[in-house]
Amino acid sequence: MAAKKTMTLNLTDAEMDALERLSADKDLTKTAILRQALRLYQLVEARLVRGEKLYFENDATKEKAELMLV
């Protein structure tokens, strides 16, 4: 993989709590969580730019609810 660069990140208590909880739930380091978040953000943006929409689907009812991204 390419050479890495270091960044310092300031988070609020709530943000850090959320990050630590996700890290525990997903059994990933906090860095890995943020890396995945960035990738997902980029993936979503790329599809939105193409004119696509992002939906959640209820597995039981198959009802779709659009995730509103302005």
């Binding site: 993989m1 997903k26 059994d27 990933l28 890995a32 990738r39 997902l40």
Partner: protein, 211 residues
């Protein structure tokens, strides 16, 4: 960013000897050119042969319509995408495209965890008995799966891998890679979804014998 090469070995069937090859961590233009100029004509010849013998479509090479150029183009600049390929004697012998973000595990014992999803994996047609009477090299699928598992471990996913196997490939993923066959997925053309657990991944890279 150019690809990094790691030395691997393929089994050359004509001689029974191991030959040196490169496992690259990125599919580049020269690999796509090989796909265009060397893979596709051989696949097309197979399909024509099957048509003239009135073979049903279930016998057609099941990846004949895959467009590697489009796939790699779609992945350009996208962080969640990764590609690998194997080069031997200056020719592309196999390719693989991964998604390291969008998929989650489905097996009950590891449900909802991150994994590396194999979007496409293919060996060059001269390495496959459906195209040639005497395949040239063996080991391509295994080495590419090793790369997928290693990438999963590097991401912190502990080797978890998921994929939808082509119907002709169930034996490879179930018996040779030791993955769990979760059966047909109605959302993906009823292809069987296979998943590799942390333990199965450890067994695979350790080269443990399977029954």
């Amino acid at each position: 960013m150019t690809a990094t090469a790691s030395t691997v070995h393929l089994l050359e069937m004509a001689t029974g000897k191991l030959v040196e090859a490169d496992l690259l961590d990125q599919v580049e233009e020269r690999h796509l050119k090989d796909w265009d100029t060397q893979w596709r004509p051989l696949v097309a010849a197979t399909v024509r042969r099957l048509v003239t013998t009135n073979a049903p479509m279930s016998q057609w090479p099941q990846s004949f319509h895959w467009n590697w150029r489009q796939k790699i183009e779609d992945m350009k600049g996208i962080l969640s995408g990764a590609s690998f390929c194997i080069e031997c004697e200056g020719v592309t012998q196999g390719m693989m495209a991964l998604n390291v973000t969008s998929a989650r595990t489905r097996l009950a014992q590891q449900k909802g965890q991150h994994l590396v999803y194999v979007e496409y994996l293919e060996a060059a047609p001269w390495n496959r008995p459906e195209h040639v009477a005497q395949p040239r090299f063996r080991g391509i699928g295994s080495i590419l799966m090793y790369a997928a598992v290693a990438r999963s471990q590097a991401e912190g996913f502990k080797g978890r891998v998921g994929l939808h196997a082509l119907p002709q490939s169930h034996v490879f993923y179930a018996d040779k890679c030791g993955m769990t066959d979760m059966g047909p997925d109605p959302n993906v053309q009823k292809l069987h979804y296979f998943e590799m657990t942390v333990e199965q991944a450890e067994g695979f890279v350790d080269g443990k014998e399977r029954s």
